[in-house]
Structure formats: C-alpha cells, structure tokens
C-alpha cells in the first residue's frame, strides 16, 4: 500500500480545481449548493435569461413591467413613448443580460437604474436637449452595491418607507428631488426652475437622500 503513491492524483485534482475557478460563475452556480434564502427569484431568472430562456424572460417581465412602466411613464408623461422605452429596456435586458454582474449587487435596483437612464435619455432627446452621455446610450448602468439592510427590508416595506419619507419633506425639497430623479435636471437647472439658491438646492437634495438612508436603516 505504501508503495503506491497518490501524488499524481492529487496534482491532477489540484489542476482541475484551478481550472474550475476559471469557469464562469454561472457554470459554477449549477454545481454549487445554494439555499433559497441566498438566491432571490430574480437572480435565478436572470441566470436562466443569460441562457436565452424565453420563459424566464416572460416571468421577469410579469414581475417588473408594471413598476418599470410606471417609472418610465412618470418620467415621459406619454403612454405611447413610455411603452416604446419599456420595450427597449426589456429587449436590452434580453440581449445583454450577461453584462449584469450579480456578484456586485441586486438585480432590481440595477433594472430600475437602467429604466430611468433610458427614459431620461428619451426625455432629453424629446426636448432636444444636449444628451449628457451621448456615447453611452447602449451601455448598461453599473450595478449598485446593496447595503445589508436591503435583505432585511422587503420591497413593500421599502416602498412605504420611501413614500412616507418623501411626504414628510417640505414641498420645495421634495420637488427638488423629483426634478432630479424624474426629469434628470442638474443642481443648477433645479435652482433655476425653483428660483432658489444653488447651495440650498444642493442641501435639500443631499439631506433628503441622507434622511431616506437613515429611515431605511432604522426600519431594518
């Protein structure tokens, strides 16, 4: 027994493990044990989407199309145009899903950032403004790093918190944030629109968002 050396086998296993590390996270995910608590339905659907699974696409559409359409409609204020943008968003998702890096953050915030960017780009074209990121039209947004409390606070409770916080702000502060988020205006443009000092607008927006962060943290 002693005479039989196992070293060649161990060396080969080491090589195979090294090779396995070079495989894509998706391929490895098929062999890695995971728990339901760790993998959201969206993450599973996106994994299938990368494999061009039409059924996964349809499920993702059914899960998020109403919220996406609501956001785009809120920005564009025109149903036909909003539907065209939503169609573009979901087609882009279908064609470029592999670019979404699940290790960096959650899918939903990324999807809504993508939707907002596309809607604002369309809005800027519509109003014939200079597009700020003309060379980035087809690029997908970076994935936002989700804080720990994202997992604790479910979407419904987060939605309630966000709406409650915004309702508690003074109307001008709320309007400043809405102009930035839904109309894509800069600090200077908001200050001009509201006829308020630039510094005040900056403080309103920053303080409002920091309060939102504190509220979400406290609620979790």
């Amino acid at each position: 027994m002693r005479a039989l050396s196992l070293h060649p086998v161990l060396d080969l296993c080491r090589i195979l493990l090294q090779e396995a590390k070079n495989l894509s996270p998706l391929f490895l995910a098929a062999f890695m044990p995971t728990t339901n608590s760790e993998v959201s339905p969206d993450a599973t659907l996106v994994s299938r989407l990368i494999q061009k699974d039409v059924s996964a696409f349809e499920q993702l559409y059914d899960r998020h199309s109403r919220a996406i359409y609501g956001l785009v409609l809120r920005i564009l204020q025109q149903a036909g145009m909003a539907e065209e943008v939503v169609q573009d968003i979901f087609l882009q998702l279908w064609r470029n899903a592999a670019q979404y890096d699940s290790s960096r953050g959650s899918f939903v915030p990324w999807l809504f950032t993508l939707a907002r960017n596309r809607a604002l780009d369309t809005l800027r074209l519509k109003s014939e403004r200079q597009r700020r990121h003309e060379d980035q039209v087809d690029e997908l947004p970076p994935v936002a790093a989700a804080p720990e409390y994202e997992k604790v606070l479910d979407e419904k409770r987060r939605a309630i918190k966000v709406r409650a916080l915004m309702s508690s702000l003074n109307p001008q502060q709320k309007r400043a944030i809405e102009l930035a988020y839904f109309e894509g205006l800069s600090h200077s443009e908001i200050a001009a629109a509201l006829k308020e000092p630039l510094g005040t607008v900056k403080s309103w927006i920053r303080n409002g968002l920091l309060r939102l962060k504190e509220e979400l943290q406290a609620a979790s």
Binding site: M1, P109, I205, R206
Partner: protein
C-alpha cells in the same frame, strides 16, 4: 484622504445625475484613480437613488407591448445559438486519463487490501501448522524418551500401591538419565476441579516431599506421564507418592497419600 474629503458631499447627487458638469468631471476623474472608499460610497449612493423609483405609481402597459416583446424574443431565441457552458481548457484525453488513474488507484487499493487479508489468513494457518508440528515433535520426542526409558535395562521399575484395595496399582519406571514414566489404568478420576500430583519423597530424614508434575487420567482411567527432569536424583529418593491436589498442583501435599511406591 484630503482629496476624498472634497467629494464627500457629492456622492448622492452624482448617483442622482444632479451634479453640474465641472463637479461631475472632477469626481469622475477621482474615481478613475480607483479610490476604493469613494467607489464604495458611489455604489451605495446608486442603490439609495434607485429606491426613489417607488415614488412612481405602478401602471399597467398594454397587452400589445407584451405581445410584441414576446414575438421578438421568441424569434431571437430561435435564431440565437444555444447557450453552452464555457469549455474547459483541459482536453478530453486528460479527463479520460484522470478517470483511468482514479479507477486504477481504487482497484489497486482494493486489491492490496484483499492481498493483505489473504496474507494474514495464510500467516495464521502457517502459525497453526507450525504449532501443531511442534506439538507433534514434542510428542514424538516424549514417545521416544518413554520408549527408551521402558526398554532400557538400566531403568528401575517402581510399583505404587494404594491403601484403598479398590484402587488399581500404578507403575513408574525411572531411568537415572532419561527420567520417569508413570502410568496407570482404570484409575478413578479425581474430583472435577482436582488433579493427581506426583511427589518425590527424599531419603533425607525429615525431608519434605518434593512436588513434581500433575495429571488427569483420560475417560477410561488411563494415563502415561513423562517426567523428563525429575526434581531429585533417584539415589536420593526414598519413594514416589501420589496425592489429589487443586489444578496446577501444590508445593506440599494437602491430602493424604493415595499411592506410594518405594524406590529400591
């Protein structure tokens, strides 16, 4: 750190897209340096800003939108190459080699264990055979010695008589060099936990009986006992005696003498 301090108030506005061009350019230039703290803060701010989508009320798009989308998706899915997991750089022959090596290793280990077990079994059988042979050789030696004692004219015959008239007489033949052969037939068996023990009674006045071997007759009451090395010389021995003792014998007789025979 001081460089980062000037951007600390900008992360949320940057994620929101509200920074004016000069500020945005300055922050983006800083981010391209790979500052981990600011990059992390910007990532967190992006997530925070993404939560503002909850401010927009949900709305239902037309069914036609879904219909158009699904039609396009199905067409693209049909024409798109199916997803295949990334291929490994390891060629097939190497996988086959690993598998063969793995199987060979398992077979070798199993075979080695089997051989080890067989060797152990063979060792046990050989040891038993050697033991048996040794016993046979010992018996043969004893038989030769007994025969020599019995036929040698120099041997001295000693009759051991019992005070019990029912007990058969025993016979001992003592050769001064080869030892004593003690035998008997139809000897009543001692109690279950007792044996018969041979004693040499010295000629020395007041000398204590010297203990020798113990024996048990067989089922027919027959026995032959060879004492190869008697504990005393024949010339110094006055008589041989037999008593009943516990298994293993005693240092001094604990029961009355059952047989006694004088050494002439």
């Amino acid at each position: 750190m001081k460089n980062c301090d000037q951007f600390r108030d900008m992360f949320e506005a940057y994620a929101l897209g509200a920074l004016d061009a000069p500020e945005r350019a300055a922050l983006e230039a800083h981010l391209t340096t790979g500052c981990p703290e600011c990059s992390k803060s910007v990532d967190e701010a992006r997530w925070l800003v993404s939560q503002l989508h909850y401010l927009a009320p949900e709305a239902t798009p037309s069914d036609m939108l879904k219909g158009r989308l699904m039609q396009t998706i199905r067409e693209e899915a049909r024409s798109a190459p199916r997803f295949v997991p990334p291929k490994s750089n390891i060629p097939f022959w190497m996988w086959a080699g690993v598998a063969a090596l793995f199987l060979a290793t398992i077979y070798s280990a199993w075979n080695a264990q089997r051989l080890t077990r067989e060797i152990q079994r063979a060792d046990q059988i050989a040891a038993a055979i050697l033991q048996h042979r040794h016993e046979l050789e010992t018996q043969l030696e004893d038989a030769k010695r007994e025969a020599a004692i019995l036929v040698d004219p120099a041997s001295v015959k000693i009759a051991l008589a019992s005070p019990d008239p029912q007990a058969p007489p025993l016979e001992a033949i003592w050769h001064s060099n080869l030892g004593i052969v003690l035998s008997g037939q139809k000897v009543p068996a001692p109690a279950r936990d007792r044996v018969l023990q041979l004693w040499l009674i010295p000629k020395t006045p007041g000398g204590k009986p010297i203990p020798s071997l113990t024996l048990r007759p067989d089922a027919d009451g027959k026995f032959v006992l060879l004492v190869s090395n008697p504990p005393e010389l024949m010339a110094a021995t006055k008589a041989l005696a037999i008593t009943e003792e516990p298994p293993g014998g005693s240092l001094a007789p604990t029961t009355p003498l059952l047989w006694v025979g004088g050494v002439s």
